[in-house]
Symmetry: C2
Subunit: 187 residues, 2 copies
């Protein structure tokens, strides 16, 4: 399998469609359309976005946000996250997003992932996860106007109840981690 050509087929500000031509295992020419925020070819060493998995040390709870997601037309449970700004490194972006979205202060990084891919059937978007300790009192004072966020702190039991409630929307990463946190199983 090999890529023969990439073409940007829309010209919007934040998100565009690209068409990639490739040859399959039988050398047949095929096309794959995907969405990307990038202006140029992807840089595999740099994640587009950071996702913070914050543990509040004093409360001994995992921090999750309930956030209005325009695309879903409703509230979604997820972790604080956002695009890495130009000039920022991953940890700086994680600290900033955590503070803007929750008012909490990142105090210690426990682990981080390399750039990993959100859904490579439809987008080249990559994220890095940061597992971190935090402190402070939750606040939505630092939200942007387009943000509508409620901060939640969850014990293992509370996480287990939350993911069992019918009708709620979860980010997939958050669901997997809450499920693990609740039950200590893989899924």
């Amino acid at each position: 399998m090999r890529i023969t050509r990439v073409e940007k087929i829309t010209d919007l500000k934040h998100l565009n469609l690209f068409s990639m031509e490739y040859r399959d295992r039988k050398e047949q020419e095929k096309t794959w359309v995907y969405a990307s925020r990038k202006k140029i070819a992807p840089d595999p060493d740099r994640a587009d976005a950071v996702v913070v998995v914050p543990f509040h040390v004093r409360e001994e709870k995992l921090v999750v946000i309930k956030e209005f997601r325009v695309v879903l037309g409703g509230y979604q449970y997820g972790f604080p996250a956002g695009l890495v700004d130009p000039g920022e490194d991953l940890i700086q972006a994680g600290k900033r997003e955590l503070f803007e979205e929750t008012g909490l202060k990142l105090t210690r990084v426990l682990g981080k992932s390399p750039p990993v891919y959100s859904s490579s059937g439809m987008t080249d978007e990559s994220v890095s996860l940061i597992h971190a300790e935090c402190e402070g009192a939750p606040s939505s004072r630092f939200n942007e106007d387009s943000e509508d966020i409620e901060v939640m702190m969850l014990s293992r039991e509370e996480a287990g109840s939350l993911i069992k409630e019918p009708g709620l929307k979860f980010d997939v990463k958050t669901w997997i981690i809450l499920n693990t946190y609740a039950s200590k199983g893989i899924l």
Copy 2:
């Protein structure tokens, strides 16, 4: 926050851009562009895609595939996954995808997630995860022409080594689950 209008702004076969107009917390009109495979408004009760987290009982190993991803122009480590076909239920889709991509037979469902969202900043794509047992010998005989897949079976130790290897590409869900499987920690 509320949605006032949704418009489809491209007209391609599999993936399109949509523009959503909404009012933010201060009643300012704003626009959010996102990618979707849908022709109509999303159905929150039905996942677009299924992801199978297969455990091979006889080998006592987790099954992961190394698959060529056109969008990434290279190989990615992930779980067997694919779109749910019309008329199929989630488990049927999971069985089919597992067999097509690995030659393995799903024998028991251990757990499943509700539809959860891949990356709701840029797409309405939802997936359901199925944690399942499987049996049989891995084979790429049932791959489609556009699929280029190697099946891997991983012990906890092998999973730990794989995610530490520099330069490899991972699907985010797979990375989180492999990391948990390897270390039994959250991240």
